[in-house]
């Protein structure tokens, strides 16, 4: 036992000295890595959902593909962990720092430290409310209002040239959450173009399947006619499908369904014809992030706001896309 331990220790010491030798060769680059690789420090919110897990995996995979050395820190949903991680990135002299802020406020001090150290900061997925926008280079993420607009536009196109009122019910996300507020606003603004399109009922389904089902049951019982359901995420839409089927109606045919997210289960329902249209909210922003990192490192200045590359899916597109869905 003792012998094996000492062998292991010798191994560690040898490896350590080899690395140190390597590092000392080009200390002048200022980064921790020896071979001129760009070093990116990334602090993730946590692993609270399938969406977030896919987000993490995308960043890790694309860093590897782009030849960027990634120092990854999981904040487990706590701001103080994230601040600690950013400080340690600064002392390690990484080339670029990127992070998804757990909360919007309280970042000025630590971002100032990064700025003073000359390390550019990129925000991903979530924004911060700092007054001083020079503290970060860019914000890369989805535009929830745009998602709502895309959903609304599809509906407007569907009913173009048709007369007669169309009654829409809406399942909102968690009350007060940014995606819920923005997806509602973008949708409502867009469908205002057609006076026939009317939201008759709108209630929160808390982004969950069970609530989506319960609220849809009541919508079905208390509304004379429902033509369209707009759900702020796939899960609520999937719950609502259960309720619609239990009421003896055909989802996708009797009631048209539009959702946002495009997770695997949602795409499956779309390809089966139970959902009519899904607006994507993609966690796969890794490749875009690496492009921005390279651009920043080579002295370029990217746009202050970069939108995640996102698309929309019809039933036909879902059938071809479904086998490639990772999350």
């Amino acid at each position: 036992m003792l012998k094996r331990l000492s062998v292991a220790m010798v191994g560690v010491v040898l490896l350590g000295s080899a690395l140190a030798g390597c590092g000392s060769k080009d200390d002048s680059t200022g980064s921790g890595s020896g071979d001129g690789k760009i070093v990116l420090g990334f602090s993730q919110v946590g692993a609270e959902s399938g969406w977030r897990t896919a987000n993490t995996k995308s960043i890790q995979d694309s860093a590897k593909a782009a030849g960027i050395e990634l120092k990854f820190a999981d904040a487990q949903g706590k701001q103080e962990n994230q601040i600690t991680a950013i400080r340690s990135f600064i002392t390690q002299k990484v080339d670029v720092i990127a992070f998804s802020p757990v909360v919007t406020s309280g970042w000025d001090a630590v971002l100032k430290e990064a700025k003073d150290a000359g390390i550019p900061v990129i925000l991903t997925d979530r924004a911060v409310d700092s007054q001083d926008t020079s503290l970060y280079v860019t914000f890369l993420g989805s535009d929830f209002i745009e998602e709502g607009k895309k959903a609304g536009q599809w509906l407007v196109d569907q009913y173009k040239g048709k007369t007669g009122p169309v009654s829409i019910v809406e399942l909102q996300g968690t009350t007060g959450a940014a995606p819920a507020i923005d997806r509602q606003k973008g949708f409502a603004d867009t469908i205002a173009a057609d006076p026939n399109l009317k939201i008759v009922k709108s209630q929160t389904g808390d982004f969950t399947r069970a609530q989506g089902k319960t609220v849809m049951e009541t919508f079905l019982q208390s509304t004379p006619k429902i033509d369209v359901l707009y759900a702020h995420n796939d899960d609520m839409g999937l719950g609502a499908i259960e309720a619609i089927e239990a009421a003896g109606k055909k989802p996708g045919t009797d009631i048209k369904i539009i959702t946002v997210d495009a997770v695997k289960d949602g795409m499956t329902a779309l390809s089966e014809g139970k959902i009519n249209y899904i607006v994507e909210c993609s966690p796969l922003l890794g490749p875009q992030l690496m492009d921005v990192v390279k651009q920043v490192k080579s002295g370029g200045s990217p746009e202050k706001r970069i939108l995640t590359k996102e698309t929309t899916f019809t039933q036909e597109q879902a059938k071809t896309e479904l086998p490639n869905r990772q999350y």
Partner: protein, 341 residues
């Protein structure tokens, strides 16, 4: 006049009032379709099953002076266990295997209840802290079981426990009714109810009187765990998937509210199962009414709060006397505050 003084009079009045509101907003309040009941009322009964089961267990725990905060997490774990096992089945529609898996999930929940009971009765940890441990850790365990993902199942026997019908009645509601009837028989037709109340009143005095108060306490947590597990199965069967993040989230608060509306004292020593049933149905009906009448989602919580405050005030003898007492003046007797024994 005596019926007005019954603690359950006002909750029952509000429940009936909410149901009447639903009669007007609903297309079909109650009707028969495809050989089973259909409409708003059957939806309410079916939807209230998980809360009814959880609140029933909570009533027994509270009767002994305890509290069980872990019910939501136990729901998540039992749903996660069941869906994980069912998704591994070769034939998900095999009734035998599904029943066996349901059994496994219930046993897991009973063990979790035993853990709570042991912490409270054997180790002597305060119930609110003892069950808080499982409340926080349990959700983590559930997420570990499902690997943080939502597990889907396509098993019609499993879905039946939430969405099926038996003798035209929703199966989920029948399960809840069965649990209620069994509990009433066990507590009110045997000495068990009396023992529960005596332990809640004073565990030490009960022990000195020859009651095995520890055993009674542990038993209530085991029952609460088992009922929460059953509720978790109905919850996950309802959406044919295990959603370990949101399953049973905050249901402990609704359950405690249902118990309190029903007139069970939080300090223990007195409980009313009929009251809990009315409380749970009231909360479920309130949720449905909010959607049916179209209260904007920003105002839903406020609307619910107003109803609950009105209800609690109506149950307070002090409040009633202050407001209505002037109409028929009585000799000014000081209102006797009830001092917990």
């Amino acid at each position: 006049m005596t019926i007005l003084k019954n603690r359950l009079f006002w909750p029952a009045v509000i429940l009936v009032a909410l149901l009447v509101v639903n009669m007007f907003t609903s297309n079909q309040f109650i009707t028969v379709r495809d050989g089973h009941l259909f409409g708003t009322l059957p939806d309410i009964l079916r939807g209230s099953a998980p809360l009814l089961l959880v609140a029933l267990g909570m009533t027994l725990v509270i009767a002994t002076g305890g509290i069980d905060l872990s019910v939501g997490s136990v729901m998540a774990i039992s749903g996660a266990v069941a869906c994980l096992l069912i998704s591994d089945l070769g034939n998900q529609n095999s009734v035998g295997s599904v029943l066996l898996i349901i059994g496994v999930a219930i046993v897991v929940s009973l063990v979790l209840g035993l853990w709570n009971g042991a912490l409270v009765a054997a180790v002597g940890i305060q119930p609110i802290i003892a069950t808080l441990i499982l409340m926080v850790a349990g959700r983590g365990v559930a997420q570990l079981i499902t690997d943080g993902q939502i597990i889907n199942v396509q098993s019609s026997p499993y879905a039946t426990i939430a969405t099926g019908f038996f003798l035209a009645m929703p199966v989920a509601f029948l399960i809840a009714v069965g649990a209620v009837v069994l509990t009433v028989l066990l507590t009110r037709r045997t000495a068990l109810g009396l023992l529960l109340e005596s332990v809640g009143g004073s565990p030490t005095a009960s022990r000195l009187a020859g009651i095995r108060s520890r055993r009674i306490t542990v038993m209530t947590y085991v029952v609460s765990g088992g009922l929460a597990g059953l509720a978790g199965l109905i919850y996950s069967a309802n959406i044919k998937s295990a959603d370990s993040i949101s399953a049973g989230n905050l249901i402990e608060l609704d359950a405690i509210l249902a118990v309190v509306i029903g007139g069970t004292a939080l300090i223990g020593g007195r409980f009313s199962i009929a009251g809990t049933v009315i409380g749970a149905l009231l909360i479920q009906t309130l949720g449905v009414t909010v959607v049916a009448v179209g209260v904007p989602s920003k105002a839903t919580l406020l609307f619910k709060a107003v109803i609950v405050v009105a209800l609690c005030l109506s149950q307070s003898a002090t409040f009633r006397q202050k407001v209505f007492g002037r109409i028929k003046p009585r000799p000014a007797t000081a209102v006797r505050a009830e001092v917990p024994a």
